[in-house]
């Protein structure tokens, strides 16, 4: 079998890392080929349009991102952005010669087209998504229907009155789930009073009426700040016409600037939150504010996180906690960089009697990593993995849409994807270690131990 497995046996004798470095060098030309061509223009309304024309399949994905994430919720009405997104499906008023449709007629109209419409609010943005076939008549019909929906959503009061108790019931149910409870404690402690930390509750939903949904929509559905990303079988001329029609209904909304929001504050000190709960598995969460997407250290920190716990089976945390000691099924570290500093979180679960052992091990690994930084080998391995894997991030329309929409949302340079590999390759150990030490302070982290006795 030796002959069949040079990747294993030979790679070790030759020096696996030397082989990988070679792979890194060889990858560069292929990389340019893999980066998509993004066409970008600004419409007279101010809407910024990003198009990747990809004629491989007769389908189109469109995403419209609005500055209407939950960070824009008034605190007493936490959940307003999410409710607005959800209730966009609750029917349309008559508009531009098209008749009104109630929620069911609207759902049926989308189903008749075989098209998919969705809307969802994250902390930063409210994202509207359309996925449709591009046969000309179908595309036009989907475009007409979405334009009507964006121009004249009904936000029907009876539907909201009916949905609200369901949301409350789901929330109440979630309060029996340890994973949800532990996450709520962490979010509150990491973000404090920042809008990123706002969490919807029954009383905040109770403070929301249909008129608030309508008001939130009117304030935030602005063409002048919208980003529209299109990926699929469509050319620039057709895409431009489509986006114009979709956003025409927002012109009366005007273009007033939204209030600036504060930045997430660093934690002043470490904090342990231990909550007993009868569980089969203890939830362990360790976190603190991370960084914003436009932070100059973003790439260096992403590389560091990849090594610590962001890369699945080969990450340090997975190796130490799962593979070597069998303490858990899953452990990972993540950070969600937004327009503000999203939380950096290490999360794992284990049976309660082993929770303390697992927690000490994770804390030790975080401290060790922040103190010493990655080894040169780890750094090169991560660089090779990320650069060689670049094409995998972009091999479907859905993934392309996600990447390009993120680029659009954060106003990154149009060639961000083209230069990405070169920038990853240029990072050295000192830069990565410095970024790691700048962002993470192990002594000032929030630790949630849910369902086991704390140390």
């Amino acid at each position: 079998m030796k002959q069949m497995n040079p990747c294993g046996a030979a790679a070790r004798s030759l020096g696996l890392w030397g082989l990988l470095a070679l792979g890194l060098a060889l990858m560069a030309p292929g990389f340019l080929q893999a980066a998509p061509v993004i066409e970008h223009w600004v419409q007279p309304s101010g809407a910024r349009v990003y198009l990747v024309s990809n004629p491989g399949l007769p389908m189109l994905d469109v995403q419209i991102d609005l500055d209407a994430g939950s960070r824009r919720d008034p605190a007493p009405q936490a959940g307003l952005a999410q409710a607005t997104a959800a209730l966009l499906r609750a029917g349309v008023q008559a508009h531009a010669g098209q008749p009104a449709l109630d929620e069911n007629a609207l759902a049926e109209a989308w189903a008749d087209l075989g098209a998919q419409f969705s809307a969802a609010a994250t902390r930063d943005r409210l994202s509207l998504r359309l996925r449709t076939l591009t046969q000309p008549e179908l595309l036009q019909a989907a475009q007409d229907l979405l334009a009507q929906q964006l121009a004249a959503p009904a936000f029907a009061a009876p539907v909201w009155q009916r949905e609200r108790p369901r949301w409350v019931a789901r929330w109440q149910h979630s309060q029996t789930e340890p994973e949800v409870l532990a996450e709520q404690l962490l979010i509150a402690a990491v973000y404090g009073a920042h809008p990123y930390g706002q969490q919807a509750r029954p009383e905040t939903w109770a403070a929301i009426e249909a008129e608030h949904l309508r008001g939130f929509w009117r304030t935030h559905a602005q063409a002048c700040t919208a980003r529209v990303t299109l990926v699929g079988d469509i050319d620039r001329t057709r895409a431009d016409a489509l986006v114009r029609q979709l956003l025409t209904g927002w012109q009366p909304h005007g273009c007033s600037a939204l209030p600036p929001l504060p930045e997430v504050q660093p934690l002043a000190q470490g904090r342990l939150i231990a909550q007993p709960f009868a569980v089969a598995q203890a939830q362990l969460l360790i976190g603190q504010p991370g960084l914003a997407r436009r932070d100059p250290d973003f790439l260096a920190f992403m590389l560091a996180n990849h090594i610590l716990g962001g890369s699945g089976f080969s990450s340090r945390l997975m190796q130490e906690v799962r593979e070597r000691r069998g303490l858990t099924y899953d452990i990972h570290s993540r950070f969600v960089p937004g327009r503000h500093a999203g939380a950096f979180v290490v999360a794992t679960t284990t049976q309660p009697p082993r929770a303390q052992q697992a927690l000490e091990l994770v804390q030790h690994e975080i401290r060790r990593f922040v103190d010493q930084g990655p080894t040169q080998q780890e750094l090169e391995h991560a660089q090779a993995a990320l650069i060689n894997g670049f094409a995998l991030r972009l091999d479907s329309n859905r993934e392309l849409l996600q990447e390009v929409a993120a680029l659009a949302w954060h106003d990154l340079p149009l060639d961000d994807l083209q230069t990405w590999s070169a920038r990853i390759a240029a990072l050295n150990r000192v830069q990565v270690h410095r970024a790691l030490q700048r962002v993470l302070q192990p002594e000032r982290m929030v630790t949630v131990v849910f369902g086991a006795t704390a140390p």
């Binding site: 079998m1 030796k2 069949m4 497995n5 990747c7 294993g8 046996a9 792979g23 292929g30 491989g56 399949l57 007769p58 069911n104 609207l106 759902a107 049926e108 109209a109 989308w110 189903a111 008749d112 087209l113 075989g114 076939l133 046969q135 000309p136 008549e137 036009q140 369901r166 149910h173 029996t176 340890p178 994973e179 079988d233 009868a278 089969a280 598995q281 699945g312 089976f313 080969s314 190796q319 799962r322 593979e323 000691r325 069998g326 858990t328 099924y329 679960t349 284990t350 049976q351 391995h381 090779a384 993995a385 060689n388 894997g389 670049f390 094409a391 995998l392 091999d395 479907s396 859905r398």
Partner: protein, 471 residues
């Protein structure tokens, strides 16, 4: 590049009214017609299937949209191929396949795939085990070599087994023991099936995990990991002849071995409703109804059971295909005057090596008992049996189904998963198209008839999750 529509169908009466026309005929045509591509490389290719001399099946589907490829190795062996006392062993073996070979030590395969820029993982279902890597297309021969090696030469010391069993027990705690819903469903399945191995949980009963021995896993691996019981599916930026040559080199070199005989394990006829209750940590009840209904034997099968199964697929869509479908409209929105459910669903699968249940489930609304919700769900089936369904409802389900087929081609993973699932059933690679053609011929009368014929209380299993204390 895109075909023009047959105008008599699409443009009869303007834009609003065309919504009422059979879009599915158009979509079917989009899917089935040969595409005249301006760029030949972008033409959607069909999958090709070969059999190597040792019995291993090879399925290749070029998709040239990006310079990446996906390899999935499929075993026609899942939890249904286990025996009592060793539940979960198929899943354990899947984990152990990452523990090395004489030439590739533990964990090395994942490290090597990561270094190539790839991702790797695996899964086990009741029917199959599947290992997959997504990699830059140029690295395909490397992962083929690695996969063929562990398929034939997986080996590990007992110590690695005990370490991994610790992980698997944590997995069971996380996926099942921490969820009252999952535990109820486990008991529900164990009650719905008496003889058929679908009664066992895929992850295994905890007591079986505690008693499983290293040699149990080795024996399962030896028994089922034979070329005649496996298929290699490759989707991506690849050349068919080249992939075939690599497959011959790496997988074709493995010696043929007999595929073990499979015992029938036929489920005896159910003659009466079965009911289970599970009391757990939840603040509200959950109800599941499972009916034993006919199966689709093959995409081309025209026997009564297969014909009925196709109509049942459409019925599930009519009940729960979109947010305005019948169950949501009637029971959650409360169109009849009262909300009886907070959430509700209907599902029926045409894929599976064993018999499938037609499942209805829901969470009762505040002040509604599980029994009331059960009656309301049954009443919706009876209404279909009594009043039938409209052509518009069926058209809507077909439209969604057909569009989803195109959307699915956006994902190499979804394409490979479907091809592997069809292989596990013993079906052809173009089963999607065949089933869609069949679905387009199902009439409202057939859907009405299956609703009347197959939802007998005698063939029903009911599962109820109840809160530990009254809420």
């Amino acid at each position: 590049m895109k075909p023009a529509l047959p105008t008599p169908i699409l443009w009869r009466g303007g834009r609003r009214s065309w919504l009422l026309l059979p879009l599915w005929t158009v979509l079917l045509w989009l899917l089935l017609a040969p595409v005249q591509a301006q760029t030949p490389a972008l033409a959607p290719a069909t999958a090709q299937q070969f059999t190597l001399a040792n019995g291993l099946t090879l399925i290749i589907k070029p998709d040239r949209r990006a310079p990446t490829a996906l390899q999935m190795l499929w075993l026609r062996a899942g939890s249904m191929d286990e025996v009592d006392g060793q539940s979960g062993v198929a899943h354990v073996v899947e984990h152990m396949l990452f523990k090395g070979t004489p030439t590739v030590p533990e964990g090395e395969i994942s490290r090597l795939v990561a270094a190539m820029g790839g991702r790797d993982n695996a899964f086990v279902s009741r029917d199959v085990t599947s290992f997959h890597q997504q990699i830059p297309a140029a690295r395909l021969p490397d992962v083929m070599r690695l996969e063929a090696d562990r398929f034939a030469h997986n080996t590990w010391p007992d110590e690695a087994f005990w370490r991994e069993m610790s992980v698997i027990k944590e997995e069971r705690r996380q996926m099942v023991e921490e969820s009252a819903q999952a535990r109820m469903f486990e008991v529900f399945m164990a009650s719905a099936w008496l003889a058929h191995p679908y009664r066992r949980p895929i992850i295994g009963w905890m007591s079986d995990l505690l008693s499983l021995q290293p040699d149990d896993a080795r024996a399962f691996y030896q028994r089922w990991y034979v070329p005649g019981n496996a298929a290699l599916v490759v989707v991506g930026d690849v050349d068919v002849a080249q992939v075939r040559a690599w497959a011959e080199r790496y997988f074709g070199a493995l010696p043929a071995r007999a595929v073990p005989e499979r015992k029938p394990q036929t489920e005896p006829e159910q003659r009466g409703t079965r009911r289970i209750e599970y009391v757990g940590r939840t603040d509200r009840p959950l109800l599941v109804l499972g009916y034993k209904v006919p199966q689709l034997a093959h995409p081309d099968a025209t026997d009564a059971a297969s014909t009925d199964a196709l109509a049942l697929l459409l019925l599930a869509g009519v009940l729960d295909g979109h947010s305005a479908a019948r169950l949501e409209h009637q029971l959650v929105q409360g169109a009849a005057g009262r909300r009886v459910a907070l959430e509700v669903s209907a599902s029926f699968s045409y894929l599976g090596r064993g018999p499938q249940l037609f499942l209805l489930s829901g969470t009762p609304a505040q002040g509604v008992s599980p029994a009331e919700l059960e009656a309301a769900l049954v009443a919706e089936i009876e209404r279909v049996a009594r009043e039938g369904v409209s052509e518009a409802e069926l058209r809507r389900v077909r439209n969604q189904w057909l569009a989803a087929e195109v959307f699915q081609r956006d994902s190499m993973f979804a394409q490979a998963r479907l091809l592997g699932s069809y292989w596990a059933q013993g079906w052809p690679v173009d089963s999607s198209e065949r089933i869609m053609r069949r679905l387009s011929a199902v009439t409202p009368q057939q859907v009405q008839a299956v609703a009347a014929r197959h939802f007998s209380a005698q063939r029903l299993t009911v599962g109820v999750l109840l809160p530990e204390q009254a809420p």
